[in-house]
């Protein structure tokens, strides 16, 4: 039996060999697959590019006087026999990366070409090895928060910058930061001065992030931008992160002790749904969230924080601005001793005012009616949501909940979930279109600082 199969196999093999041989004779492949497809050298407006053949990236740094919108390929050398779609003389707008396709016979490869002005960038900045600075490479400023007890007259500054940049004073220097300190960074034609400011503050030094739906702070809506700007300027060790960064894996939420989701859109961006597992996982494993404005909505089946996976059952407003005819706040009857309200001005009605008469307001409200469907009562609401009420509306109503707390518990076996505070009071609004000198703004700031410190514990 075995020998019979051996014979069959042998015959089949022989037939295939013959078939293959005849192919070779009659049908030589027309595919040309043996050429190289490399950019060997390139010169754009007089500046040579640095070529990374593995990453297929060409980086060209040009002097600061070159107009990036009007560039020209002056020289390009390719592998023998290859052609490309950016031959000598090609003009292009280089403010965005371009892709050069190099073709040789039937093979091709694509190189990404980025042209940049000589530029300096701080990548990290740390004082005394533990206080991380907030770097703004557009404004050319660095701000660093340190505790009240730190001796700011002698602190060691350690930093990293982009390749090719030199800085004075150099990294590792011991400096007096009682006044802002100037650093001069140089890369070829770019010479740029950075101002480093140190602020003493009692805020937690834990890593924190402000989450937004735009690539950068500039793209945020007015409300989110106002809150984010305040946080970056006033809260130590804070970063801005876009939801897309989280989806794409460029940033891991687990790196942060707390995150602030102060969203100012009223529709449902798909990005929230696409990132729902990352947020849920962060919270399940102990990540704390301050979810204010429309951030409070996503405690539902998106982030899966509320036990009933529902958004607050009463949400409205946010369409347009009105000017307030009276002061606006929320009442905290029964919750006055909560750490959230430490050192706030509380009036005789147990009310915390945040906005004064004359301020603009969109009346965006995300609140619960604990006595409404499907809860029926405060007890029912607590049971079904797993939350505790911390504040009511401007006028006190036991069953109206505008601020709530979700305490940590073992939502995932072996882990303790993070603490979550939701703020849906219409008074919690950072952007004032009217630019009023609001005497209660210190309450808004203190409340937020308290919330951040509380969530960082």
């Amino acid at each position: 039996m075995k020998s019979l199969f051996n014979t069959i196999c042998g015959l089949m093999l022989a037939t295939m060999m013959i078939a293959l041989q005849s192919c070779d004779k009659d049908n030589k492949s027309d595919l040309s697959l043996d050429g190289d497809t490399r950019i060997e050298s390139i010169k754009i407006n007089g500046f040579s590019g640095v070529i990374d053949h593995t990453a297929k990236v060409v980086s060209v740094n040009v002097s600061t006087d070159i107009d990036l919108t009007n560039l020209c390929i002056e020289e390009i050398t390719l592998s023998k026999g290859a052609t490309c779609d950016y031959p000598v003389g090609t003009k292009f707008d280089g403010t965005i990366p371009r892709s050069i396709k190099v073709i040789n016979g039937n093979v091709f490869s694509a190189y990404t070409v980025s042209v940049k002005h000589d530029n300096v960038e701080f990548l990290s900045f740390m004082l005394d090895g533990k206080y991380s600075g907030t770097i703004d490479n557009f404004a050319r400023t660095i701000q660093c928060f340190v505790p009240m007890e730190a001796d700011i007259r002698a602190m060691q500054a350690v930093f990293t910058v982009n390749e090719g940049t030199t800085v004075t004073p150099e990294s590792g220097s011991l400096l007096d930061f009682s006044q802002p300190v100037k650093f001069t960074a140089t890369q070829r034609t770019a010479v740029i001065e950075y101002t480093v400011t140190v602020v003493q503050d009692d805020m937690s030094q834990m890593p924190k992030a402000f989450i937004g739906n735009s690539y950068s702070l500039e793209g945020l809506g007015e409300e989110a931008k106002a809150a984010c700007q305040w946080m970056l300027e006033n809260v130590p060790n804070t970063r801005y992160i876009s939801i897309q960064d989280i989806i794409d894996g460029r940033v891991k939420l687990d790196d942060f002790k707390m995150i602030w989701c102060h969203f100012d859109w009223t529709d449902w961006p798909g990005a929230l749904w696409d990132s729902r597992d990352q947020f849920n996982s962060y919270w399940l494993r102990g990540g704390a969230i301050l979810a204010s404005r429309d951030g409070a909505r996503y405690i539902n089946d998106v982030w899966r924080i509320a036990r009933d996976q529902q958004s607050p059952n009463n949400m409205f407003g946010g369409d347009s601005y009105e000017t307030l005819n009276d002061d606006l706040g929320f009442s905290i009857t029964g919750h006055e001793s909560h750490p959230l309200y430490k050192d706030l001005d509380i009036d005789e009605n147990h009310r915390v005012l945040l906005l004064s008469k004359g301020c603009s307001n969109t009346n965006r409200t995300l609140q619960w009616g604990a006595d409404w469907d499907p809860y029926g009562s405060m007890e029912g609401w607590e049971q079904r949501t797993g939350a505790k009420a911390l504040a009511s509306g401007h006028d006190y109503d036991f069953n109206r909940v505008t601020i709530a707390e979700f305490e940590p518990y073992e939502a995932l076996k072996g882990f303790t979930s993070g603490r979550v505070i939701t703020i849906g009071s219409p008074a919690y609004e950072w952007y004032d279109k009217n630019g009023v000198d609001n005497p209660y703004r210190k309450n808004l700031i203190k409340l937020t600082k308290n919330a951040i410190n509380y969530l960082c514990q």
């Binding site: 965005i96 990366p97 007015e222 529709d267 449902w268």
Partner: protein, 509 residues
């Protein structure tokens, strides 16, 4: 190796045998005597559709219709939606050609996506204009990673062609929001030649957070100057896919409202461009008609128009539904749906049937007139894959409620109904309901329209597989999708009051 061969020979033999035995059996379906039965049949969608076009692979996203003055036909570029799309490079521009908005010839891929590191890795809507022997298509470049593209998320780029087949990307033209407009929302360029003989481009973007249509002008289509805001968008609204044209004595802006509560195609009108712009200035809210300018339901999105000098058509996409469920949420992209623009004497617009589609479905069979009392319905025999149904309903009072159901057999526990619902004594709205299931399906209803004084409703329905358009009295258009429509029975229903049905004609393919 030998061991494998020993197994494979019996397997091969068994396979051959099973193939042979299959071919001897008739298809199981023939046993059901479908022609004479009214049982519900689980019908599949075809891979491609012809009237409401869908390519064999993937779906149609944002159409960019253009009348080709050289070939004298309509070219409809569209964003090709593969499912799944590639992660970073998606929505290349494909195209179809048509003479009559009823049948299409595929032109395949016309403008490919850039590489993953380029700004036009993903592509969004644009528009085409012909000038001096060259076709210019301005399109939205959408970066998957703005951090690597100079912080720009969206910008306008250009590709040109001499023959509409081979397109070359222009690398010098790049229009961005710069320091003035948003670099996140900066899309859907629409180019037209103004009465001043200059070229104008309007772009959907934001200025200080507020939605605006920004305007740029050019003499040569290559060098563009920003000329400020063309028109503001009202409140928190955002007008996507703007389309501007003059028809008779009126200027129109047709756009697709992004706000999820009213995500539909809408329009504004004005006798002059200034009058048109005033409709939204300072959130004025000067609606063009009693329907707030709505042209269709959510079943049509990203609608833009083109005219051959005689007729103007609008093309949009009718979304597929998640999980091919008749109550699933709308996906992005679907089938290409065309309507004819109907301009009324007061300048108002509505969408009507494409005449050439009626011609395709001209082999009609008439049914006798009948009346339906309250809570009665009449079930009709099995439809074809493509169908045209027309009939007249006369109601006995403005409160009479009636509709049609599809994907309905005589054994169906659930079926799907399009209901001409009395909202009050003088206003009606088309609703979509899952009868025997969840009832009213949110986000699928039409818009309010005035109840006809005479109680007469001339109704025309065209279906192509699951895509369906319904027209009422030349004033209402309603596009939706009902899976299972093809090759199943359907019904006319009276829910309350008493209706007379006459002139019922059915054509099937």
């Amino acid at each position: 190796m030998k061991h494998n061969m020993i197994i494979s020979i019996p397997v091969l033999a068994a396979t051959l045998l099973s193939v042979a035995s299959c071919s001897n059996d008739g298809p199981v379906l023939t046993n059901k005597d479908l022609a004479n039965s009214q049982v519900y049949l689980d019908t599949d969608e075809g891979m491609s559709q012809k009237i409401y076009y869908k390519p064999y692979v993937g779906y149609v996203g944002d159409p960019m219709p253009f009348f080709d003055p050289v070939a004298k036909d309509f070219k409809v570029m569209y964003l090709q939606d593969y499912r799944p799309n590639q992660a970073l490079t998606y929505h290349p521009i494909w195209g179809v050609a048509t003479n009559d908005a009823a049948s299409y010839e595929s032109l395949g891929e016309l403008i490919p996506c850039g590489s993953a590191t380029e700004l036009d890795a993903a592509i969004g809507t644009g528009s085409t204009i012909y000038n001096d022997g060259t076709y210019y298509t301005f399109y939205t470049a959408h970066s998957p990673n703005p951090a690597s593209t100079n912080g720009i998320n969206e910008a306008v780029m250009l590709a040109t062609s001499k023959d509409f087949k081979t397109w070359t990307k222009n690398r010098e033209l790049l229009i961005t929001g710069g320091d003035t407009y948003s670099n996140s929302d900066f899309r859907d360029p629409f180019v037209f030649k103004g009465d001043d003989s200059r070229f104008h481009m309007i772009i959907s973007t934001r200025l200080n957070g507020k939605g605006v249509l920004a305007e740029y002008t050019s003499d040569n289509l290559l060098d563009w100057q920003s000329t400020g805001v063309f028109m503001t968008m009202m409140w928190d609204r955002f007008y996507e896919c703007p389309d501007l044209f003059k028809m008779g004595d009126w200027w129109y802006l047709i756009y697709s409202e992004q706000h999820d509560a009213i995500r539909r195609v809408q329009y504004f009108k004005g006798r002059t461009l200034d009058e048109l712009k005033a409709c939204t200035a300072n959130d004025a809210g000067l609606w063009p008609d009693s329907k707030e300018g709505f042209l269709d339901s959510r079943g049509l999105y990203a609608g833009k128009t083109a005219s051959n000098g005689t007729d103007r058509y609008i093309w949009g996409w009718c979304a597929t539904r998640a999980g091919s469920s008749n109550i699933g949420n709308a996906d992005w992209a679907g089938n290409l749906v065309a309507h004819k623009l109907v301009q009324h004497s007061d300048g108002t617009l509505s969408l009507g049937e494409v005449p050439a589609i009626a011609k395709l479905l001209a082999q009609e069979k008439s049914e006798a007139d009948f009346t339906l009392p309250e809570n009665q319905s009449k079930l009709f025999s099995r439809l074809g894959t493509e169908n045209r149904i027309s009939f007249v309903v006369k109601t006995s009072s403005p409160w009479d409620k009636f509709g049609v159901s599809f994907a309905r057999g005589n054994d169906s526990e659930k079926y799907y109904s399009i209901i001409v619902n009395p909202e009050n004594e003088s206003v009606r709205k088309i609703n979509y309901e899952e009868e025997g299931g969840i009832g009213f399906v949110p986000n699928t209803d039409g818009y309010n329209f005035n109840t006809p004084m005479d109680g007469v409703y001339n109704i025309t329905i065209i279906t192509d597989n699951s895509v369906m358009t319904m027209y009422v009295n030349e004033t209402v258009a309603y596009t939706t999708r009902v899976y299972g429509t093809a090759r199943n029975c359907w019904s006319i229903n009276c829910y309350s009051g008493n209706i007379e049905v006459s002139n019922l004609k059915i054509a099937k393919n």
